[in-house]
Amino acid sequence: MSGSMTAATGTEALTTEMPVGRSTGWWGMVMFVATEATLFACLLGSYFYLRFQYGPTWPPPGITEPTLLRPLVMTAVLLPSSLPVIWAEHGIRRGERWRLRAGLATTLVLGATFLALQASEYTEKLREFTMTTNAYGSLFYVITGFHGLHVLIGLTMISWLLAASLRGGSFGSHRHDRVRNVAIYWHFVDVVWAAILFTIYLSPRL
């Protein structure tokens, strides 16, 4: 233990270069995700700001607390959808094209299911309140809608990857930058959903 401690605090280890060897595309996507994450942080921050400025009853009178069943199902669909992407990415790094295709197709199905569930959620909610009912309605639809838009963009990217991989000659063990970049974006869309689930659906119950 003390040996490894010494090694870790030695000059060699301390001057280890880290991060290292990333591509320009990787950095570009990470920076893009960073700015997008800030965007969502501002939206969710606005939610809490308006909520705590509003007063004790939240959602405002006339709107019932959001039910949890459907959002939890949506979570169960969306969060695991990152796994096939990871599996696909590991596959293509070893040159296994079938894993890339199968993994992307699975994610595509899961993501589309999520959007379908969100559509049914909206049809139900719209009968109760809309974006123009009050600030709560505005927050609800803009935040979830903006996230839904991100899911849609992510799915477009995944379909695009899938199309390119079906054509052949696009990806392999030497060429998988684009796969990794889309994967980063998709993981981001997933993680944001967890934050939205907490904010919109769980926090009013606290």
Binding site: E17, W27, G28, Q53, A135, A164, G172
Partner: protein
């Protein structure tokens, strides 16, 4: 430390011919529309930002003319509102940041020894989007529909009920549109500086200007989303009846202010930081030594960019927070002055210890220090709450931020223009003309804005389109107006100097000033590929040290020439170790098409042609899909096992 001609070429004649074939661009309309060369794009940024500066400056002249005497009728209140809003919005968003991004675009690849930015096509897109968003906003003025709410557009004055018409829709959509360019540019700067530095340029050898641009990029990435969210909410409130800022339906007007200043305070540094980087780049050449305390200046740049996010509440002192949580923010607001001070003292020490060469760029740097410090002084006065409450929304505030912004951004930019004009155009400017311009700008600036302190204290509020004679502000206002014409004349002389240099200037050598960074070790203007041989950097001042210069001449190695293709070197993030050569993209129409599609999208949103907007959005998606579509390669090359 030589000021002689270019280093002896280390690349063979054949290499040069191949480089020229892969990188060269023949002048044609096509190449003008498709270019991805960072130098051409950077030049366009500079020229276009200069154009917007002129437009905003003319608005200011119109306002000063109106205010020259009491109860003048040259401008109607409506026109005056639109003019001061466009003046502020343009100066902040369409002039300051893009102008500095223009310098960054031209200089970052040259200073780090690369052949282009990390994402050249994205760079071209950034320029087109900047141009179109600027035109989008200014096009509203002839229709009398320009933004009219002041540059920070506080609700409730900017909501639909109190401000009908397209005015504030133009503002919110225009800034959202521009945000695309600013974000893309920032990401590009960060990635370029992380990955494309010449081999050997570890972080301790990165020029201060590049540090400043990267810090700015990071601030944009984390600050701009707040403004974007804010503007999106404003647009939704105005157009689609949401209630984010509507207190009657659970919204809150202070939300606008919070989000705006979360962006707005870092934005002060977003504007000033790269300008301070220019100062750090100009000084070594005219003091004949490196900036004193390089690590401390790096510390200042890094810590300012972080702490600037923790001070926004001080713009909202009067909103009723618990005093304790206010003091968490005010601790940060106090401490952020330390790194700012470090920079000023580092420059003063550099000038004291160096041997001054009093050319025009250095004059502007000295003008910068004087003006900026005065602006900082009045800034410190606002920290006294009682005083602040007295002068808020008076001309005292106007005086303060013009000292900060003209001092902190415009003077360094002018220094930069004279400094890099030989590099960018290949021509020397006329020294005498430059000195005249400096003195006119300097005197004009102080004559215009110093009296504003006074009549601000005498009670003249800002943003009034006229005033009565009884108040006794007439004389001082006339002085300001006279000053503004002197200032305009000085700026005109700068323009004359630039045009004169381009048309009549004598050809510039590669290194007219004896500069220390890599931009001075290549031709003026640089070849399309920047460096025939990519350098091997061995110190913080590569142009002043023999081995670094030699690496581009007699010490040339084939793996730093890379003449077979459009290629540059990728190196490691922290230590700048060579990783591999990367392909750079060819010129393309895609950036222009994408920007046009976005312009269509935002125009259609503004005019409520939603089907057109949907079509434009689809065009954006398709263009991006084509842009990023992977080229088809043989299975063995991509590496497929089955």
């Amino acid at each position: 430390m030589s000021t002689t001609a270019a280093p002896a070429p280390g690349a063979s004649r054949g290499d040069l011919a191949r480089l020229e074939r892969h990188w060269g661009e023949t002048p044609s309309v096509r190449s003008w529309l498709t270019t991805v060369d960072h130098k051409r794009i950077g030049r366009r940024y500079l020229v276009t930002a200069g154009l917007f500066f002129a437009l905003a400056g003319l608005s200011a002249l119109a306002m000063r003319t109106q205010l020259a005497r009491p109860e003048a009728g040259m401008l109607s209140p409506e026109e005056y509102n639109q003019l001061f809003t466009m003046h502020g919005t343009t100066m902040i968003f369409l002039f300051a940041t893009p102008m500095l991004f223009g310098f960054g675009n031209v200089l970052v690849p040259l200073m780090i020894g690369s052949r282009d930015m990390a994402f050249p096509k994205l760079n071209a897109l950034g320029y087109w989007v900047f141009l179109f968003s600027g035109l989008f906003m200014w096009a509203s003025l002839p229709f009398g529909a320009a933004p009219n709410n002041g540059w920070f557009a506080y609700v409730p004055l900017s909501d639909e009920q109190h401000n009908p018409g397209l005015h504030m829709d133009v503002y919110s959509l225009g800034l959202l549109f521009l945000g695309v360019a600013t974000t893309a540019g920032s990401i590009n700067f960060i990635v370029t500086a992380l990955k494309l530095r010449a081999p050997g340029m570890s972080l301790n050898r990165v020029p201060l200007f590049v540090w400043a641009i990267v810090a700015t990029g990071f601030m944009v990435i984390f600050a701009l989303p707040a403004l974007n969210v804010d503007n999106a909410m404003l647009f939704l409130d105005r157009r689609f009846g949401t209630h984010f800022f509507d207190p009657e339906a659970g919204g809150n007007v202070l939300l606008w202010q919070h989000l705006f200043w979360i962006f707005g305070h870092p934005d002060v540094y977003i504007i000033v930081m790269p300008a301070l980087g220019i100062v750090s780049a100009v000084l070594p050449a005219f003091t004949r030594r490196g900036v004193v305390g390089y690590p401390l200046v790096v510390l200042a740049i890094v810590s300012i960019s972080i702490i600037s996010f923790g001070v926004w509440v001080h713009h909202m002192f009067a909103t009723g927070l618990p005093q304790l949580s206010y003091s968490f923010f005010s601790a940060a607001s106090t401490i952020i002055t330390i790194p700012s001070g470090i920079q000023i003292f580092a420059w003063l020490a550099t000038m004291m210890l160096g041997r001054l060469v009093l050319r025009v760029p250095l004059l502007f740097v000295i003008g910068f220090i004087v003006t900026f410090v005065l602006g900082g002084l009045t800034g410190a006065m606002f920290a006294l709450t009682a005083f602040d409450q007295q002068v808020t929304d008076s001309y005292f505030v106007v005086a303060h931020f013009h000292y900060v912004l003209i001092g902190g951004a415009v003077f360094p930019m002018l220094a930069g223009i004279y400094f890099w004009l030989p590099k960018i155009t290949g021509r020397m400017y006329h020294e005498g003309l430059g000195r005249w311009a400096f003195w006119l700008v300097f005197v004009g600036m102080h004559v215009t804005f110093f009296p504003m302190h006074l009549y601000g204290l005498f009670g003249m509020p800002r943003r009034v389109y006229t005033y009565r004679s009884e108040a006794g502000w007439d004389g001082w206002n006339l002085v300001s107006t006279v000053g503004s014409y002197v200032l305009a004349l000085g700026l005109l002389l700068v323009l004359v100097g630039v045009v004169h240099a381009i048309r009549r200037g004598r050809p510039a050598p590669p290194d007219p000033w004896g500069g220390d960074t890599l931009d001075w070790s290549t031709d003026s203007p640089p070849k399309p590929y920047n460096f025939p041989v990519l350098p091997r950097v061995r110190s913080l001042h590569p142009n002043w040290d023999g081995p670094s210069r030699e690496s581009m001449a007699t010490g040339a190695e084939p793996d730093r020439v890379l003449a077979d293709g459009r290629r540059t070197l990728r190196t490691s993030e922290l230590d700048g170790r060579r990783e591999r050569a990367v392909e750079m993209p060819e010129p393309s129409f895609q950036p222009l098409v994408l920007a046009l599609a976005m312009l269509t999208f935002f125009t259609a949103l503004l005019l409520a042609w939603y089907p057109v907007a949907a079509g434009a959005a689809a065009t954006v998606a398709v263009t991006l899909a084509v842009w990023l579509w992977p080229p088809r390669r043989p299975d063995t090359e991509v590496g497929v096992s089955a």
